[in-house]
Symmetry: C2
């Protein structure tokens, strides 16, 4: 019976189709029996069309329509009628018409769904993932996934027009666990050996530059076997870009133009360029983070200079040990009570601060317990620093340089939210550059690459790589949107000698470097061009562009925080025979 082809989708018919005989297929969204007529909203991906069953047209079919239930899949044939003016639904593209049905076929029945297919309801997260196919029928998810599909195309069209070549790199690659943990794939042909799933196609895209492809991109799945923080997925998608014969600005320009193109095409918004650029040092100093949200102020002031000769002991000690006294001042007008200040104190203490010092700045001068320790010139300097405040509150943290500023950055974010300062109607775009090359890994007690070990040091820092590695800056750049890092990249090392030196700087022995990255070191010796690139977090980009609250709302089949797929039950046990073929046995579970 369903050999009759549909003539239209459920989002297509309008007054101009009046009197047409049509065939629609879709899902029963809702069912109403109104005084002898049955009205059904028929739904598909494209929209909703109202179809009407009347006993006067065909009694048998009218009776069968009474048996329809939510989410049944049906085929109807009928004639397009104009709705009476009083029944026109202006919220619906097809709201001016309805179909008077003369033929009905149930293509498939449906059990009663465990939740209603509607955007306006709150559904248990586990249930949603378990019945993902029903969750995906909801309008918001459907439109997110369709949006995502359009975004792939916009990105590809944009980059293709710029002569970028899309090249697939392997998913079964060599395990090089530098950074996060690899997912492993046991080899059957070489028992005891493993492939790894790529955390990024980093080495391959560099090899492609050595191969002369000049401009590469790929929208590619990457994998990290990490304990999942909120809103991370074990597999994620990135827009991966690499270019030859470039400096930082060339890559940043391509990335910035791509973002502008995306906002223009997808949201019809023209962004102003160039995006502002902050150095890492500035970002840390003024915003207490490497990914500042510029949609509000609350810039951090460095008061260390003011307190260089202070009598207040805890500040004096901080000054002496080259720490920082950092402050945020804001117009308060007495809204923040002592109790609230205590809560903020608790907040910064939970981040490791000793305590929170506060001052009120009013027309009459400074108030607060700190004031009694302050010299007149310190008071004057404070008042000048915060001269814009009429009835202000100043929060001060003092301590070790970077940790203190990072805590201040957290406090700034919280204040921005609490004081409702974030202009959510705008987006803030920002480049952060000149990152330190290294960061100290407290767990492993060694310096690790902040970006990755293939990132080039700044030319002017090359000479002190061995003597003062922590002072070396990297040729790296991050693109930040509204306080979220949306892309990160760098100019790469293209000299195998420098690459070897960097491996040593990272405490990777020559032997280990050879074993893990020997192929790259070798490739760099056969005519590697200067090159660099960037990678965008695609899922997060879709999330920001669609205003979604979670990655799960922009990925068709997401996993839970423990990397479970609730719909199909992956991961699952496998046959012992399969493991034997791989040369593996399980360590007995207790």
């Amino acid at each position: 019976m369903h050999k009759i082809p549909r003539t239209h989708t459920c989002g297509e018919l309008s007054v101009s189709d009046k009197d047409k005989k049509v065939c629609l297929k879709g899902w029963v969204k809702s069912w109403r029996d109104l005084g002898g007529l049955i009205f059904i909203d028929l739904r598909d991906r494209y929209g909703i069309t109202q179809v009407v069953f009347s006993p006067e047209i065909n009694t048998a079919i009218y009776e069968r329509a009474r048996g329809l239930r939510s989410e049944y899949v049906i085929m109807i044939e009928g004639v397009v009628y104009l709705r009476p003016a009083s029944n026109v639904n202006k919220n619906l593209a097809t709201g001016e018409i309805e179909i008077m049905v003369h033929e009905l076929e149930v293509l498939n029945v449906a059990k009663t769904p465990p939740f209603e297919i509607s955007d306006d309801i709150d559904i248990n997260e586990e249930l949603k993932l378990q019945y993902r196919y029903l969750d995906l029928r909801r309008n918001r998810l459907q439109s997110n996934i369709v949006f995502r599909s359009r975004l792939y195309k916009v990105v590809r069209d944009h980059l293709t027009a710029l002569n970028f070549v899309e090249i697939e790199t392997p998913i079964l690659m060599k395990s090089t666990p530098e950074g996060a943990r690899d997912f492993l794939v046991p080899s059957r042909n070489y028992k005891g050996k493993f492939y790894a799933l790529p955390q990024s196609p980093q080495t391959y895209k560099q090899i492609l530059m050595v191969a002369g492809f000049d401009r590469y991109f790929q929208i590619v799945k990457c994998f990290r076997d990490e304990d999942l923080r909120k809103d991370r997925q074990p597999e994620f998608t990135q827009i991966d870009i690499e270019m030859s014969f470039v400096e930082e600005n060339d890559v940043m320009q391509v990335a910035e133009d791509l973002v502008k193109g995306i906002y223009s095409e997808m949201l019809k918004r023209e962004l102003k360029d160039p995006f502002p650029v902050l150095t890492y040092d500035q970002a840390l100093q003024e915003y207490g983070t490497d990914k500042p949200d510029l949609r509000f102020g609350l810039i951090i002031k460095n008061l260390t200079g003011i307190f260089c000769k202070t009598d207040f002991k805890s500040f004096a000690q901080v000054v002496e040990t080259k720490g920082v006294v950092a402050a945020i001042g804001f117009e308060d007008s007495g809204k923040i009570t002592r109790k609230m200040i205590d809560q903020y104190t608790g907040f910064v203490q939970s981040l490791g601060a000793v305590g929170l010092v506060w001052l009120r700045l009013r027309g009459t001068g400074l108030e607060g317990s700190l004031t009694k320790y302050l010299k007149p010139e310190e008071k004057a300097a404070l008042q000048e620093t915060f001269q814009d405040l009429k009835d202000g509150l100043i929060f001060i943290l003092a301590g070790e340089y970077e940790p203190t500023l990072l805590r201040m950055g957290e406090l700034r974010l919280r204040l921005g939210q609490d004081l409702n300062l974030i202009r959510k109607d705008q987006d803030s775009f920002l480049w952060v550059v000149d990152f330190p090359m290294l960061e100290f890994d407290e767990k492993e007690k060694r310096w690790i690459a902040r970006h990755h070990p293939f990132t080039s040091p700044k030319r002017e820092d090359l000479d002190r790589m061995e003597m003062a590695p922590h002072e070396v800056k990297a040729r790296a750049y991050d693109l930040v949107i509204n306080g979220t890092e949306i892309a990160g990249g760098s100019i790469r090392i293209y000299d195998s000698e420098i690459q070897s030196r960097v491996f040593r700087m990272l405490n990777i022995s020559d032997q280990e470097a050879e074993g893990k990255f020997g192929f790259l070191l070798k490739a760099l010796q056969y005519g590697a061009p200067p090159h660099g690139g960037i990678a965008f977090g695609f899922d997060r980009l879709v999330m920001i562009l669609t205003g979604s609250a979670s990655l799960r709302d922009v990925i068709a089949f997401p996993k839970t925080a423990s990397a479970l797929s609730l719909m199909d039950g992956a991961p699952d046990v496998v046959d012992t025979k399969q493991l034997e073929e791989l040369g593996l046995i399980l360590i007995d579970k207790k």
Copy 2:
């Protein structure tokens, strides 16, 4: 120094750029010292430009140019000169100009490559894979990879215009080893459990139809842990398509239009449609294969009817046991000697045939040792069957129906090649439909799904699924180009009851079905639309379109037949710590 941006690529300059000051960057392809001038062919992805160093322009730079070697990466600045008419190279896009250099920088040196970067040389396969970055610099591979990149776009543009939504399905999925062997990924969070890499996104794309996406596609990596036959790769790419509310013809039309679009866009060739359609039975009967190459004739004739009352014992026995007597006749004119016939006999025997019977058909009548067993009416019938032959040779195989025809198919292919009958300048397109649903797996001694277990049986065969499973035909279709299956698909089962019956037919117990495919059976109960789809082998398509001899020539980083990556040495050993985290130990290697 290399901060100077390049002004042009090496494939860009022409006479209209005369006298321009330009900066090029690229690889030294070749080096000639001709009477006081040094000529270098500078190469990048876009082309080759001749650059000239003269001691009269700058002696120091001329001297430095003498130190350049093949594959060095250099930057040059210079002025565009027109070449003297006698030096114009018409084979080169930039062949009318050259650059007189006044500035040179060596961006990177290169060791002497282990092979010349040239299309015209024969290189050891292992060496090529080991130095893939050098192999990829060759013109043919570069253009194949760029072609592949363009093909992605053509496919996506085509399908997007038809309202298909591109949706990413998971790479970490549930292991459902039905068909080939899965690659497994051990789970760290759930020790003893495993993800599998998808052999195809089959179940997910069906779920997407249940979710109402109506038209889905994806260009997606798939994985099979098989002992690799020639020209298979453990990871491969497919164009995956699924549609709701469709019959066979709808999917075939979309696929056919896609192929036509591809040939038109990529090769500027307009294909005639509709493509011919053969049933599986016809294809087997006439070509001895389910993927006939229609670029030549040699159609197999079924002689069983002629020999239904034969005195020739071995034929009589075949007729009695419902086997087949099959023949190919061709114009030979005595070219095929007895010795050659012996070789063909050896060939079919290596495929399992008892022997090869042959007859010569000349103006004077039939010749050959068989003739003495033939009745006059059999001779007459044979002569009528092959009446088009003037001086012909007839090869006859007799035996069990399908194996005999398959052997005849192999013989037909070999004869097509030997007799130079294949019209290599054309492409033959063909649909094969009405496949048997099942095939008998000799190894596992059970019926397995020929396509996959989600393929719908033909409506008219539903009733005999349990009684005569081997007679059931599937709603499956393959697209064949030049004897290669390039796409395969089917209308799927959308009724969970029928799906359960098919699982039982395949000897998959209800419990096993529930464990492996329960999520799909469940999804089918919540309003699954009728749906079907198709998948194209993308790598193979690129291979055919570029006329490449091997999949390795169209994949950036291919693996060897034993799934090794010779460039980076994957798979490799991993730390015991990594295995411990996964709850695994290796079975000791002997």
